[in-house]
Amino acid sequence: MNQASEFFTVGEAVADAKAPAGPIAERWEQRRFSGRLVNPSNRRKLRVIVVGTGLAGASAAATLGELGYRVSNYCFQDSPRRAHSIAAQGGINAAKNYRNDGDSVHRLFYDTVKGGDFRSRESNVHRLAEVSTEIIDQCVAQGVPFAREYGGLLDNRSFGGAQVSRTFYARGQTGQQLLLGAYQALERQVGAGAVELHTRHEMLELVVVEGKARGIVVRDMVTGDISTEMADAVVLATGGYGNVFFLSTNAKGCNVTASWRAHRQGAYFANPCYTQIHPTCIPQSGEHQSKLTLMSESLRNDGRVWVPKERGDDREPADIPEADRDYYLERRYPAFGNLVPRDIASRAAKAVCDEGRGVGPGGLGVYLDFADAIGRLGEPAVKAKYGNLFDMYERITGENPYERPMRIYPAVHYTMGGLWVDYDLSSNIPGLFVTGEANFSDHGANRLGASALMQGLSDGYFVLPNTISDYLADGPFEPVPDTHEEVVAARKAVDERIAFFLGNDGDRTVDSFHRELGKIMWEYCGMERSEEGLTKAIGLVRDLKDEFWKRVKVTGKAEELNQQLEKAGRVADFFELAELMCIDALHRTESCGGHFRAESQTDDGEAKRDDENFSYVAAWEYATEAPVLHREALEFEYVKPTQRSYK
């Protein structure tokens, strides 16, 4: 069934050994009861390394510190508060049913499984929905200034096309406020001496001793010192890998290195090809472009999306009469109109641009027009709702969206794939836990708006602190000396790579390679994938990777703040990931969620899922020759798979 099989081999199936059976609503409680506990006086003897200070990392580090474990926490930014979670705008879902509009834990569970296009685990998603309500309580207690109504109670809005209002938000800066809550809880533990914080430190290798994750190799990014840090367990909360596309809405520093190094040490990487492309981003303005900026999805509530009917119509938008405009979302999806899900809106935009009807530089953009909304509600009302987004748009483009329709284009936004974990958030390497966007998570093939923040905090505050004790109950483990061969080998690998970069007599900058890699990925492994394109991409990526190792040029020394050296290591790992992403995309011949396969569509061009052959998680094992595919079958007892339809 797989044309791609020349690129990989198939191994044994994997199963989630920790997932409890029984009625779904009782599984989480059951697991908490069956998991072993660590005596409070023993916790002091157990050291846990947490890499990452985003929502998933800061919440875990703070909570483990509160519980009494000795925690070491790392991030590559100068402050934990700058982790990429800070940039999330829209909001966070919770099944509080404050609106009395029919929401419930079960409905959030149902919506999330369906939204993920039936490629996620029911048990995990149900737990996420259960915990969602506790997250809101926790954040409110920390002083997170959520939006409120005049009565002083929390406000909710409907987000991303959901039929219930379950999204909690803090203006357009929800991620910032949630992260600051977690950051403050973390700093409180740092002040208390429970957590040791290492900022401007980058994890470059995972140390696995006798089959267990026992530590990491880190580089002090200011002095260049390389050190090995040992512990009883390692938690990776290192975020997503959208930057493999070079241009994405992710922060410039986001990378896959921590996950990829763990993958090379044996951790399975699941569903790497599942990428979310967000439809409302500001288009690229030229070759200098270094990142793309997301504009909140809420804009689609009032803005109308259109392009000219004719190709090459380069009149000013105001001069194009109604009759010559194509409101293509309203035309194709009359029921949902401009509010169709992210993947559908993104692909529709790409389709009209491919027809040559796109607007703006390079024809890569569509209009998002507020003229009707301004006419209907008046400019002040529009300003009150979207003023800050309009200002942001104007700062970046120099155009005034009150007068001229915005130009938008889809951009890579989130990666549903990540390291494979079981119900306990443990990877297949004992002692290596993965939380937040870095794991393959609960979102299946497509993430609903406002659910990544929920997952990050659920993992960090509530799930991991409860499940990790079952593993740590066997500790403290035998101390590992610095001279242990695995430790020495891990260090050596890091030292050699750094020495290679600095010694290589190259002539091309790291960024130039990264940019080129990103173009290949966007072209062939972006919004629409095909067998032909992916096969070609694998070749292109391999060639470029070879060229990278021959021609990359890194200036400076190892023992100093060297931003080129940091980038070189990250891009090297992106190359390997890119290849695996293409292989994963190639082997999955169905269309599902964020993965649209050209060969698998209905007669009218919509995505066609193939449950018979692909209702599984693809967990990839690293091997020098070709990656090994381990399938984890997905079972749906509570939500029966149906084909999504938004007509």
Binding site: D78, H84, Q176, T555, E560
Partner: protein, 248 residues
Amino acid sequence: MKFSLRIWRQPSADAEGRMVTYVLDDISEDASFLEMLDVLNEQLIAEGEDPVAFDHDCREGICGACSLVIDGQPHGPQAATTTCQLHMRKFKDGDLIDIEPWRAGAFPVVRDLVVDRTAFDRIIQAGGYISAPTGTAPEAHSVPVPKQDADAAFTAAACIGCGACVAACPNGSGMLFMAAKVAHLGLMPQGQPERHTRVLGMVAEHDASGFGGCTNAGECSAACPKEIGLDVIGQLNRDFRKAAVRAA
């Protein structure tokens, strides 16, 4: 567009630094300020020189990493705009642009335009939180918060911790940053029990870190990309006074 740039170059924390001039051509007016520096760095690497180090991450005005003093102004000439959101169309073709790091004893230079801002984290450690260990929280709706308080708290909490306030202040004071946190937490009912210990702890840490005192010059607020108002400093002063008297 063409620009001459005078940039502070300093190889390491204890090395001597100086302003070095570079000339850059063919810059798009749609490029952001940091993208302009990216172009410069590509050019420097091609010439075998060390590129200019500067802090940045989100490039959308929210992480607070970017931190350049442009022509003497932290985050440059455009009001309410971080360095990463500043675009070259705000400059004139042929301009000479000075680029320096934040200057403050509490923010020592690490390299070139990168400074060490951990002093801000220490101020938060000294009390900039509400003690609510995970799992202890009551139901979210058990404590209503008047909308205007929640809104005012949000406005203060919008601080991105960039440090432009310190960079702009003639006294090198960190008061606006600290006051924004004191105001945010002090406006929420959840923040009341620790209101007094919080302000005393944070002010002590602020002073110990080597920030200067505030003389209400107001330069901080004028430079703040998130437009944090001076009101928060008024509230900090009031809270401090009450706390100091109560503790006496």
